[in-house]
């Protein structure tokens, strides 16, 4: 199984979630993070003084899927999350060796609902 983690723009979460559900992904976990990349953060003004925003808010959405689903999931995310503007984010794919469903003890493929 593979874990696919996408760092996306927060306002794209709904679109990405819908896209994932459409390609048959049924479970996912989301958290709010802050990111720094090409979109570098910026300097703002408050009452004539500067303040520096090093990190911009991003949303991380991750799902664990069977190997054969990876390509279609990645593609779905790219399509749903892309705006074409800098800061759209990244997708990382990593290997997951074992999955357990806590409720039933089922393992691996069976545990992925």
């Amino acid at each position: 199984m593979k874990q696919i983690t996408a760092i996306i723009k927060p306002f794209k979460l709904d679109d990405v979630k819908d896209a994932l559900l459409e390609v048959g992904v049924s479970g996912m976990s989301v958290s709010e993070i802050r990111g720094h990349g090409r979109q570098k953060g910026h300097t703002e003004l408050y009452r004539g003084a500067e303040y520096i925003v090093d990190f911009v808010p991003k949303t991380s959405i991750s799902t664990v899927v069977k190997e054969e689903q990876v390509d279609v999931v990645v593609e779905a995310i790219v399509k749903a999350a892309s705006t074409g503007k800098i800061g759209d984010g990244k997708i990382f794919v990593t290997n997951v060796e074992r999955v357990v469903r806590i409720r039933t003890g089922e393992e691996d493929a069976d545990a992925l609902s």
Partner: protein, 397 residues
Amino acid sequence: MDVFFLTVGAAMVLAMHAGFAFLEVGTVRKKNQVNALVRVITDFGFSTIAYLFIGFYVAYGITFYAPVGELEVMEGGSNGYKMVHFFFLLTFAAAIPAIISGGITERVRFWPNALATLLLVGLIYPFYEGMIWNGNYGFQDWLEATFGAPFHDFAGSVVVHAMGGFLALGAVITLGARLGRYTEDGRVNAILPSNIPFLALGSWVLCVGWFGFNVMSAGTADGASGLVAMNSLLAMVGGLLAALVVGKNDPGFVHNGALAGLVAVCAGSDIMHPFGALFVGVVAGVMFVYGFELLQNKLKIDDVLGVIPLHGVCGAWGGIAAGIFGSTALGGAGGVTFMAQLVGTLTGVAIAVAGGFLVYAVINATFGIRLSEEDEHMGADLAIHQISANPEEDMSR
């Protein structure tokens, strides 16, 4: 002495504007809190200017274009009563934009709204105010001749509240609903309030200040009436308890229910029996809850704080109720007739509805009244004020 009396009253009604602000801050989404605060306080400022230079003259024919020495300040022992009276009445006039604000919040542009404030407080409100409270245009005389009594609106159920609430109708409809509030397939999406404690704080401040609004409407310390105080109390309690039950413990309904009772009791608080006032409050509380749900969910009018049912409907109910529960038949002090109350109230409502559509339609046509979709999405705080409600937390890092 009377200056002291009215100063206390004016300060209490001034405080009510803080109440309006926090009621709104608590009800809107977080991204619009700052704008709610700034809009309410600056609307108060614009109202002052409009009422000082135009509105007070329209309603009462009074101006201040003379040296202080000639403004009846020092002589006659009046101690500038006229001036504190201006202050007191201004705090009522300024309630008009404060009421409307709750309906149009989260999507209205700043300066076009300020322009609306100037027009409403400078012209439309004082037009009706003068008609009722200063006998302008012979309207009250005509009512008295026709129905046996003038229109009785002691503290403004109609003059202030129904006027504000129904002016909001045109404003809210002209603006349209907030993004995502109603879907194309007819679903109604709830938009949750940001902060119940602030909402409750606003309501409490309004409740307390209301006793200045009502009792000090007597105008002089010797005219202050315990009946007005007691009736206001009981209507408030009736409204809040009714809203508790009908609104199924919803904190927003409870805290607004108290206000509904107070709105309704203004007109007849000086003539109704306390039990009558209690009943009027109960009815207002029920009306508010049902009116709110009807408007939002059935009629799909996105009146964010529910100011149309709260101030509009309950205000009109108050105007009419004074004609019912003020009668001696129901233990009241009399001196009112049902028909005069009905006609007076409907006249006010008609002026408000017409005035609201007129003013907002014109502004919308000339300047545009609504935030761009992008700004609305980002929130009025960042779009208009470049700062959020909790900047330290939200904006750095």
